[in-house]
């Protein structure tokens, strides 16, 4: 019979040693791995690689706290914990609150959602909007990189074979208006067909910052600082004159293969709606 090498480390240090020696893949909530390798009723999944179950390391990897450099979210934090933490910025909280059903929101983890790198993953999209970084640790030390750089493509990441994702850091972001919208095939418990985040920071009638990111839009979350720059620095009453230019620039970064007309058009209309609302003096707050 096929056998799976499986470890259950008792501490992060032990997990890092196992990772180094056996390159065991961390299994936290199991909500991706157990589904991917499901073979049928009454049949244990057979993983073609060693695994380590790290779900009992939440003392070390499960906290959410605000520090000087931003909000730190432990890799084992669940969507429910993220959704109910007021230190987490709105688009991430909102995205977490709309993931799956309650059981999944108590089982899945942010580390898994990023490590799995599914183009339909819910959390990478708002994290990339906020320039969040992923914290990677090995027995040799720790490094950080932007989530946008960490996710290389569909199911591909820059994770080294001796590294574990230990957490996420969301740097402090100044924003007056946030937007988050997810379209699934139904209102709850749905995989994302399309998701969109955007933010404005408006000071004294001037756009100080503007960002937008689009999920389920191709192998990677789409964001373009060049396109965003088109609106940055404008006075609010100049924004609508430049919206067309922004939208064409934005449209050009979307992959036509991954974004059939409906998704492309919906993204465009949502962005247009949000930009027009803010440009016409909408109150600061969260929009969807």
């Amino acid at each position: 019979m096929d056998e799976v090498k499986c470890f259950i480390p008792k501490s992060l240090d032990e997990a890092l040693r196992i990772r180094k020696e056996f390159h065991a893949k961390p299994l936290a909530g199991g909500s991706d791995l157990m589904v991917s390798y499901y073979k049928g009723i009454g049949i244990a999944p057979v993983f073609p690689f060693p695994v380590m179950i790290i779900s009992n390391l939440s003392d070390e990897l499960g906290t959410i706290r605000k520090e000087d450099d931003g909000v730190h979210i432990g890799a084992l934090s669940t969507p429910n914990e993220i959704a109910s933490s007021m230190v987490v910025p709105y688009p991430v909280r909102k995205a977490a609150s709309l993931m799956g059903a309650p059981s999944l929101r108590n089982t899945a983890t942010i580390g898994g959602n990023i490590g799995n790198a599914s183009p339909k993953g819910d959390l990478p999209q708002p994290l990339i909007l906020l320039d969040a970084e992923v914290v990677l640790r090995s027995v040799d030390g720790e490094r950080r990189m932007k989530v946008d750089d960490f996710i290389l493509g569909s199911k591909k990441t820059a994770l080294a074979d001796d590294e574990i994702i230990t957490g996420i850091v969301i740097p402090e972001v100044k924003a007056t208006h946030y937007f988050y919208h997810k379209i699934g095939m139904r209102r709850a418990n749905a995989i994302s067909k399309l998701s969109l985040s955007a933010l404005f920071d408006v000071e004294d009638g001037v756009v100080v910052d503007f960002r937008a990111s689009s999920g389920a839009a191709g192998p990677k979350v789409r964001r373009s600082r060049d396109a965003e720059e088109i609106l940055i620095g404008l006075k609010l009453d100049e924004v609508s004159g430049k919206t067309g230019e922004f939208l064409s620039a934005w449209n050009s970064i979307l992959s036509p293969h991954a974004m059939p007309e409906y998704r492309r058009a919906s993204t465009r209309r949502m962005l247009l709606g949000f930009i027009e609302e803010v440009a016409s003096g909408a109150l600061p707050g969260n929009y969807e």
Partner: protein, 713 residues
Amino acid sequence: MARISIDDDVRRNDAIEKASGLARYASDYFFPDMLYARMLRSKAPRGKIRKIQTPVLPYGYYFISAKDIPENGRNALHMISEDWRCFADGDVRYVGETIGLFVGPERSVLESLERNTYVEIEEEEPAISIDDAINVKGGPILEKDDVFCQLYCQKGRDMDEVFGEADKIIEETFETGFQEHVHLETNGAVITKEGEKYVLYISCQCPFYVRKSISIVIGAKDEDIVVRQSTTGGAFGGKEHFPDVLAGPLLVAEYVIGKPIKLIFDRREDMLYSVKRHPSKIWYKSAIKDGKLTGVKGKIYYNAGAYLSSSYVVLQRGVFHANGVYDIPSTYLEGFGMATNTFPSCAFRGFGAPQTLFAIEMHLTHIARRIGVDPVEFKRSMFLKKGSETVTNGHIVENVVLGSMLDDIATASDYWRKSREYGYGSGRGIGMSFYNHGGAFTGNGEQAIIKAHARLKKTGERVTIEVGSTEMGQGFQTTLRKIAAAVLEIPMENVDYPNPDTSVVPDSGPTAASRSTMIVGRLIERCAVEMKERWGEGDFSVEKEYEHPDGHPWDQSTFRGDAYLGYGWGACCVELEVDKRTNEVKVVGIWSSHDIGKAIDEKIVHGQINGGIIQSLGYASMEKMENKNGHFRQESMSDYVIPTSMDFPKQEYFLEDNPYEWGPFGAKGMGELVFNGADAAYVDALERALGVETFKIPLPSEDIEEALRKNGR
């Protein structure tokens, strides 16, 4: 323990055992030395089998196929006809067709055997869609074409004359898609032997159907096979005939191996390899004169899939409901059941009626709008009444109270104001639909084919209900116990109704066709009336046979007469808003009124209404099952989605009190009725919100985008 009266509020007898996990489903049965089974299925929609090469079977493992059917057996499942084979032999006709069964002690080994088996198939061009079948793509599936079955019926005057006199003619074609049942419990069965008898524990609606269907496979007598229904977690018609497709191969395996064998589908198998609702293509051509509808001609095509199964009966129901709830002076309706190389279509709540009811509702809605009348006003002027002639030249025998049902929901929803005020294309819409469902079997089925029996047995102060009807989540064990207890004037706790065992209970017919309460409930009511009179006689049983009410002539050869004994009636109103950025639809109100004669248990009836309407809204909006080259593209509950409680709002219900002469306490069937119409109310509201006409369901956001684009928006 109090005596019960029929209007008491009771708790379902299965509530606690199901909520607490005590209920035993097929997968909960275990026997010593029990083996497991796994199906080897066709991966091609059509072709000749050239070679089947299994890996070397480890000790204790078996591969069972058509070659194992004994000489006195037949490779056929006896559903309504005998065309569906137990095992594919020589050729395959749809993706998922059973080629063989691997049997053995370890399920992981069975999985590996199945995965490593090589089946060489010389593929032929398949016919997948109704259009493929009309064009006989890939050559005829049947002898000369791809038409399994057809029928027509005619009412009123010659259609050429009617169209000749018309001042307006409107022609439209509607399409509806596949629908998957998504019952909570997947299909499953366990077979074993007790002495010389084969015993099946199976999740099913119709234990006697299973017995009849599979006995011929090994040339056994019906009595040699005992079917015991295991507690069944949902069905919706998907477990009317389909359990035979598990039971047949299992019986052959049991015949060869002689040990207990269990076969349980997982969700993926249940999605990809089980029957679906018939996709349809429905063409209507209508004559209008002086603002009145004078005649409708219709052609109705249903995709039956690779085997006939129940499709001819489904098609008949579709044709007989193709006029909706309207007295249209002249109709000529033709129906065609098309053979294709898709998984066979079979029973699904509504049984052919929902497709035509949807199409005629939308067609009349479009006509009304084009002639400038409110659709509800237009439809109201044509409601069937007592004595109206049906499309099969029979008559409506009951009082029809659709008018007051309409008034109830129009008032509750504020329909007239909203219909006037919400602009066409404004993003908001309100719509209404009307529908019915003929109770019990079509035509002469009840008296000529089923001849149902039911029995009550008294032992001391306790009474046992002995019927072949099954509980499948619809609440029938509670409903029937309530009927018996209320007539006998005893506590419900004193009435037992175990899951049926074909070696114990009489055949009361299938649990299908919304016939259980109306037909079997009536039989138990009659048994109970007699038992009450003889209560002092000690222990005894009372058995009754179905008696057909007088005055329902029917000719099955010409399809003329009263197609149904009576109808349930429904009206539904849906209000919604469309997000113009994303085409996401938010339903903000649902109102319905139903005439089911009398509710035996209002809580159960509300459960049925709530579920039926939501299921119909799912059918109209999100439940999209596509078939590419014979393969279903949706294989899990995350890509084939059904509504959650977050998708639709709380409903407001009305029930008409309109007792039915031949039903228990005046009750008629209702399980299917409540599925039959919310889809059309939804699409009516959606078209008003969008300002465009649509012609197919389902309509997820992408398809709304396409409809808008086609209309230049």
